[in-house]
Amino acid sequence: MSGKHRSDAGQPASSRTAIPPGTRDVLPEEMRELREISSRMRETFEEAGYGEVHTPALEYEEVLRRGEEHAAGARYRTFDEQGEVLALRSDMTIPIARVVGTRYADTEPPLRFCYFAHAWRAVERGVGEPREFLQGGLELIGADGAEGDAEVVALTIEALDAAGLRRHRIGIGDGSLYRTLLHDLDVPEDRHMPLLECLSRRDLVGLERVVSDLPARELLVELPALRGGPEVLDRAEGLQALHTALERRGVEDRVIYDLGLVRELGYYTGAVFEVYDPAVGFALGGGGRYDELLGRFGRALPACGVALDLQRVHLAQAAEEALA
């Protein structure tokens, strides 16, 4: 093994040996550690009754679009021999919803699945974010409301414990909270979009400006800044039952309620999650409740899931190891 690093800078495309930005080769040392992390998480999921599934990397684009109008951000398309549009999946939630609607059409719920699989998204910022990333996650289908949410949250915490993390926390928000508030306060329809955009851009200064002429401006600015323990739940009644369920499972001190939490994907209908570890400046993953997605594939069942970016989990695990 030589220590040479060859770069393609200045080479014509025909003689290139590079890989596309945002993709990577994984060499044995990293691979062993990634395997270790995923097998520990898999054991936790399997013990809790979540069987592992695998689905094709390529799906009909139409199928992904049925799950979410933007095909959950799928960006890589190609054509098959018949001219059908195929797309690389951008998450595992929509493919699993399809599997449930077709292969489990008559099975008594609840259904529990886990996965460890790659997904692909566009590199929009060009600053080294992954184009291809490895996700580990789970989907709980047919379990309603707070109990189902609590099972997913508790199992996520447990799987990360098993992976060697110690300080991780789950941020929990209510995906419909702010929209409901806008309706309750009779904020005119045409004002909703700019407000929600500021919120998803995390621009609280902009939010303050766009609400400045609205009668309930203080509430509209204060609410999404609220985060912490159960004391903030007075303002988010929808999450109180979840808190009680988390208490029963003894994990209530591992969560942070965050009334400003919004997730980008359009299919979330209730509680939304984000997973944090102090060693990593980015969320390790996220998820939430999506009660309407399964219906689009023929089985109208409530569902909830979470997906973790295993490379980020690995970063956090390495940092924990360094601290120990």
Binding site: R202, G206, A225, Y276, P278, F282
Partner: protein, 207 residues
């Protein structure tokens, strides 16, 4: 600042930022007296150029930071919370050009205009939003030089008093926006260090 690491911009916002940190009870004496050192672990301060602040904060190397709105507009893809408008460091982002309407005349005769700037994304967005074809030339140094040598028809730049523009025979022809210093936060620190961050936000708002 009580367990937080703060990214502090050197340059035009440096003085105002240190004054702000003083009011928050941070001892900035060492930072003020040492302009070569970059990391002040005791005070929880890291100093850097303003355009690097969003990078350090986004990656969580600093929990919070202070930078100009001009930097945030240019780096609007950064995943950070913009928490407070701090009010100081007030500047205008403007389109400026020399006498005789060179921008309008280039658009009329050639259908496009050449613009030099240190803010290529802001400039491109502004001209696209106003339906004009613009070729953006990114420069690193004094932008005012570019129209004087005929490289471009006009510039997009930040100006506080307009004096540098004037001295180079340029005047403001359009205002894109007003920029002030902003407090930003890392999204994970915003959750995991919520109490510490809220405390400084409250003290800034009440001060």
């Amino acid at each position: 600042v009580s367990g937080l690491t703060v990214a502090v911009p050197r340059g035009a916002l440096f003085g105002g930022t240190l004054d702000l940190l003083d009011t928050l009870g941070v001892d900035t004496a060492e930072v003020r007296s040492n302009d070569r050192k970059l990391l002040f672990a005791d005070a929880g301060i890291v100093t850097m150029r303003p355009s690097d602040v969003p990078t350090y904060v986004e990656h969580g190397s600093a929990d919070v930071g202070i930078t100009g709105k001009d930097v945030l507009l240019e780096q609007s893809h950064r995943n950070v919370y913009e928490l407070v408008d701090l009010g100081y460091g007030r500047c205008r982002m403007v389109v400026a050009a020399g006498d005789g309407d060179p921008i309008g005349s280039a658009l009329r005769r050639l259908g496009r205009v050449r613009i030099a700037t240190k803010y290529p994304r802001v400039a491109a967005r502004h001209f696209a939003d106003t339906g004009r074809q613009a070729e953006i030339v990114e420069v690193k140094g004094s932008v005012e030089l570019a129209p004087l040598t005929g490289l471009v028809d006009g510039i997009v730049d930040l100006t506080a008093t307009g004096r540098t523009l004037e001295e180079n025979g340029l005047r403001v022809v359009e205002e894109i926006g007003v920029c002030t210093a902003r407090l930003i936060a890392n999204p994970v620190a915003h959750k995991l260090k919520a109490a510490e961050i809220d405390r400084i936000v409250e003290r800034i708002r009440s001060g």
